[in-house]
Symmetry: C2
């Protein structure tokens, strides 16, 4: 095998990094904390974008584009916003380079200092709400349902490819509504879109819930989240949807005249997912041989490797393969015939396994004579020999089965690692084993903070869709009464 | 009519701005020189992206993503590059904001100064070739055919929506090849992709040619361009494709081992089109009533406006309209029924005309009784009454005819404004009238510069596909011998 991947059991973190780099998904760039997304990785991200974009549009959302830069003064307007997270960011102070007077290279031209510094957007609420102010006069102008696909920058100190990078790609939806109810309903609708996408496209089971106040987006009245479990038992927040109340409308003075002729502040939501989803995809499904991609997101769904002894046999096998390829493509599948003549089949097998291609089809000269072909599944690593006749229909169905199986496997893993926990002593031990702990909590930020300080665990969410959590009990930390369990975990 | 548009004849520049703003394509943002692309404008850009992206992929190009930031030192490496244009750019010097010690708002944290300044990419050759260095070892690694869709920033002093903005969206392709011939062929292939897209999707006639050395991209050995004529007779450079030789490979030390085992520098191309195409689209086809969109790029291809007196009639007309809509959508067309009940039909007609929707369909109660519908074409502003039965097929064909007609109209306009010019006295007069002048030129940068200094006209291109230009003659400025005419014009 060409590229060795670290075993998960040996070093999970190194395993993750190996997969990202060796499967050609992404790499560190020359710029601290910024990644290069390589073609194979970007092709997966494009598939994610395409599916999500279609789902957004079905809900009436339209795409738009707002500036990369935000005037520094905008950050002062939304005080909570600033306190929350906007401090570590890239600040543009000058607008020109000049040749170094000493004759070597270029330097910043001190004469080209900006009057007001510009911040590279870490998120766009402020610039968007300053724009919405001009778009909204009357109730007739509402709702506004905009999304943008773009890059954002947060100057993270410790970065990991896809999971936490200084620059990342994402979508951010920003909606404006006449009423609180309508805005809350939109925030809920969008978190359900994310959950649907995670489950059905990424094959990723997620729990939908509310964030506790400690974990809310700065400036939000409510943050909804989808939380997934990785194979090391840690939680990964995969997408969030915020009900922002009238905070941004008040900061940027955005009002509308209602049907009764009265001026009212506008209600807001925002919601986003990012290239972090790539990290979730890798960590949820990968194994010690490499990536395991759900067919719905695999850039190559079927790879074919010819195995031959004679040049004549080679050509005959290729002819057959291109015939099967054509039939599969007619059904909408993406297929690659790996006809590189400098590499041996075993090397190719390992490479496509590393890259997570869901189905591998191999054919030798004896297969050709027998009218058979070998079909290997990436998810189970099993092989079977089937008739070449009708193999396209077989694979068409197999891809569905693989998509389903990957989801089921991840779901079983997650459910096996969710457990109830009712005492603080038990909690301290259990939380270190990984997984989600369903616990009673007294509802106070102080208790959550104390638990975090002692164990690094946080409340991942207060589930909305698992009624199993609604029951009476007492807080694991304070013993005070509680009406429902919440999900505790150590997270990425 | 709700929104007045300035006449072209009165003030062409104001007309352009009116169209952009009043048709809801884009607007100035709170950040100097940066625009907001509004949903209707962005929907057109998305269509452009989708068509171009498919064309790129057919040539074997894959998408990837490279960092927004470029270390300042990279600009020093490619000396010609810096001399050319990279000086007006956004410079990031700090990575943190802090609360103002005086208690009001936020300030830049002086302790968070970067060791090396980062430049927001004005184009990505340097960061990409520093990355390619790690991707290329042997001839087996070539070619590399990457493209990225992204934002770039050039600190322009005078900006105009879409045509020249500090931040704009574009795609930039960057390819790496083993031989000069292969790289040159790729640069030519891509400029032809652009020409094909301009002609067949944008309905925009373009001349394909080489840039003169004065107008070449800094660092390129050859720049190919597509040049279009706007309705004021000015030229607009709509896309460029560069053969970069080994310049970037040498700056970033990118070599490969060839089949004979020898180290060689890699050959490069880059090519791009931007949101400037939006400006070309507007200016090439718009009229005094607003935008005229070619059906291939129209977010809404058919709009339907009901005209009714009774609520009963209203509902019956709507039922019929949704039936036609369904039939049109089944043929892949995008259709909107404008059912807003607070606006009169005349207002709606004017609005959809302003927004350039190719076909408008109106139906009144008498139409319904007669089984007819009124079909209006945006390109010719003509109307006809046709049978409602089979109108979907009629419109399906009409959309093709409109696409073709918009192209033909633009082509006729352009061809009527291309003329030969053989004397310097004549040139000075004619160039002020607008249009393209086909002239002999002695081939020297000095002559081109002198002509530009006296008239503002530049050589837009040395055409590759119009053999009409190949003939003997003498330079209009110096009288020296010349073997072919070139295209002179005043440009955007």
């Amino acid at each position: 095998m060409a590229k060795e991947v670290t075993n998960r059991a040996e070093n999970y973190s190194q395993w993750y990094n190996d997969l990202v780099v060796k499967a050609d998904l992404a790499e560190q760039s020359a710029v601290r904390g910024c990644m290069v997304i390589k073609p194979y990785g970007y092709a997966i991200w494009e598939k994610m974008q395409s599916v999500l974009d279609g789902m957004f549009k079905k809900t009436g959302v339209q795409n738009a584009y707002f500036p990369l830069f935000i005037p520094k003064s905008f950050f002062s307007r939304e005080a909570e916003h600033v306190a929350g997270f906007a401090k570590e960011c890239a600040v543009v102070t000058h607008h020109r380079l000049m040749n170094d007077p000493d004759g070597k290279g270029v330097v910043v031209d001190p004469a080209a200092k900006l009057e007001e510094e510009l911040i590279v957007r870490p998120t766009s609420e402020t610039i968007i709400w300053s724009t919405y102010k001009n778009w909204i006069t009357s109730w007739r102008d509402l709702p506004i349902l905009c999304n943008q696909w773009c890059n954002v920058v947060r100057w993270e100190m410790r970065t990991r490819l896809f999971l936490r990078t200084a620059e990342f790609l994402w979508q951010e939806g920003h909606t404006a509504h006449a009423t609180s109810d309508e805005a809350q309903a939109k925030a809920e609708e969008m978190v359900q879109v994310y959950a649907d996408f995670a489950r059905n496209t990424m094959a990723l089971p997620v729990i939908v819930g509310h964030k506790s106040p400690n974990e809310r987006f700065a400036g939000a009245l409510d943050t909804l989240t989808i939380e997934a479990m990785m194979q090391d038992g840690k939680a990964l927040q995969a997408g969030t949807s915020h009900f922002l109340g009238q905070n941004f409308a008040k900061s940027f003075d955005v009002t509308y005249q209602n049907k009764e002729g009265k001026q009212e502040y506008v209600w807001a939501t925002s919601w986003g997912v990012s290239t972090r989803l790539m990290g979730a995809l890798i960590m949820a499904h990968g194994d010690d041989n490499g990536l395991v991609l759900p067919p719905a997101l695999a850039p190559i769904q079927v790879v074919m490797v010819p195995i031959f002894k004679t040049e004549e046999g080679h050509q005959a096998i290729l002819d057959k393969m291109y015939e099967i390829k054509k039939a599969l493509e007619a059904q909408g599948h993406s297929v690659k015939v790996d006809d590189r003549d400098t590499l041996r089949p075993g090397f190719k097998f390992a490479e496509w396994e590393l890259k997570g291609v869901p189905v591998r089809l191999a054919m030798g000269e004896r297969d050709l004579a027998n009218g058979t072909v070998e079909v290997a599944r990436r998810d189970t690593l099993t092989k079977e020999t089937v008739a070449a006749e009708g193999v396209d229909q077989h694979i068409h169905e197999l891809l569905d089965a693989i998509q389903q199986n990957i989801y089921t496997k991840a779901l079983n893993f997650r459910d096996a690692n969710i457990r109830k926990c009712d005492s603080w002593e038990e909690f301290k031990v259990e939380i270190q084993k990984g997984g989600f702990l369903l616990c009673h909590w007294d509802g106070t930020p102080e208790t959550e903070q104390a638990i975090k300080d002692e164990t690094k665990a946080t409340i991942r969410c207060i589930p909305v869709d698992s009624c199993v959590c609604e029951e009476e009990g007492t807080c694991i930390y304070t013993g005070k009464p509680s009406h429902r369990r919440v999900v505790f975990a150590i997270s990425y």
